[in-house]
């Protein structure tokens, strides 16, 4: 009986340790580049899941230019091109539990932002110069 309890305890410890280790391996970060406009009322069907969030803005039409998902470890960077020869760079600063601290930078500008994302949360970066929206969301480990 004691042996059974000991094995049970050890198995639980190993599983929990492995789960914690696996959780620390990477964080799923989804990046979408959206071109917004005050003309027309078309909303890209692929943006249906964030349509309500985009409704907070005063643009009337939205077109998805690019969508990528990245599995980032701490210190790793994801980069996507933006209209106007710019680029968005997202760096995972720190991941703890289901929280991810990220640094967002619009290259060739001085625009930077740091944020903490949790699974299900979305950060919208609106670059008003080019009517570009970068939607960044945490997708969990």
């Amino acid at each position: 009986m004691k042996k059974l309890l000991l094995w049970g305890f050890l198995s639980t410890f190993v599983i929990v340790s492995f789960a914690s280790f696996a959780q620390g391996e990477g964080v799923g970060i989804g990046i979408r580049v959206i071109l917004a406009s005050y003309e027309g009322k078309d909303i890209d069907a692929r943006l249906e899941d964030i349509q309500k969030k985009l409704g907070t803005l005063k643009y009337s039409s939205y077109r998805l230019l690019q969508e990528r998902s990245f599995l980032l470890a701490e210190g790793e960077v994801a980069q996507l091109p933006l209209p106007g020869k710019k680029e968005v760079r997202v760096k995972l600063l720190k991941a703890h539990g289901e929280m991810a601290e990220i640094a967002v930078e619009i290259l060739r500008t001085e625009k930077k932002a740091n944020a903490t994302l949790k699974k299900g949360g979305t950060l919208l970066i609106v670059v008003e110069d080019d009517d570009v929206i970068v939607a960044i969301s945490a997708q969990g480990p």
């Binding site: 005063k58 001085e110 944020a115 699974k119």
Partner: protein, 163 residues
């Protein structure tokens, strides 16, 4: 032969049958030859007879039927609440105080560990920590799942960006 004073002190136990056989024989022998002690013994017997008669008469005349009805009322089937109470009590009966204490402590520990998990403090799913820009910036922090950072081209266009 024992004197009357000594025999008088033994008369009451004699009537009650509490004397040893030799004492009883001694008292009986003295009483036969002593008129005074004989009379005293008769008076004592008469008194005992009166008392016994009074007690027996009282018992016979007592309302036994009423007493029985009262007992019968108490012996009636218990109510539902009484049954539940007794069932609970019989279940708890085997538990010794130490076991009850141990169970209480275990439940308290379980409650302490689970309570914070059941009611976690609400935290937003996205929080903007800091922003840098050469131009104007506006931050909208949603209640839960949304945060927006606006990097504006010109100061004048800031107004009217939100619905």
């Amino acid at each position: 032969m024992p004197d009357c004073k000594h025999i008088a002190s033994m008369l009451e136990p004699y009537v009650d049958g509490e004397l040893r056989p030799e004492e009883r024989a001694s008292v009986a022998g003295h009483v036969k030859g002593c008129r005074r002690c004989q009379r005293e013994l008769e008076e004592l017997n008469a008194l005992r007879g009166h008392l016994r008669g009074a007690v027996e008469a009282g018992v016979v005349d007592a309302p036994l039927a009423g007493i029985w009805e009262g007992m019968a009322e108490r012996l009636e089937a218990p109510t539902v609440m009484e049954r539940i109470w007794w069932a609970g009590k019989s279940l708890l009966y085997p538990l010794r105080p130490l076991k009850v204490l141990a169970w209480g402590a275990a439940l308290a520990v379980l409650f302490l560990f689970t309570y914070p998990r059941v009611t976690p403090p609400p935290t937003p799913r996205v929080v903007v920590e800091s922003v840098e820009s050469e131009g104007s910036v506006m931050i909208f922090q949603g209640e839960d799942e949304l945060a927006i950072v606006w990097f504006f081209e010109e100061e004048e266009r800031k107004e009217g960006m939100m619905r």
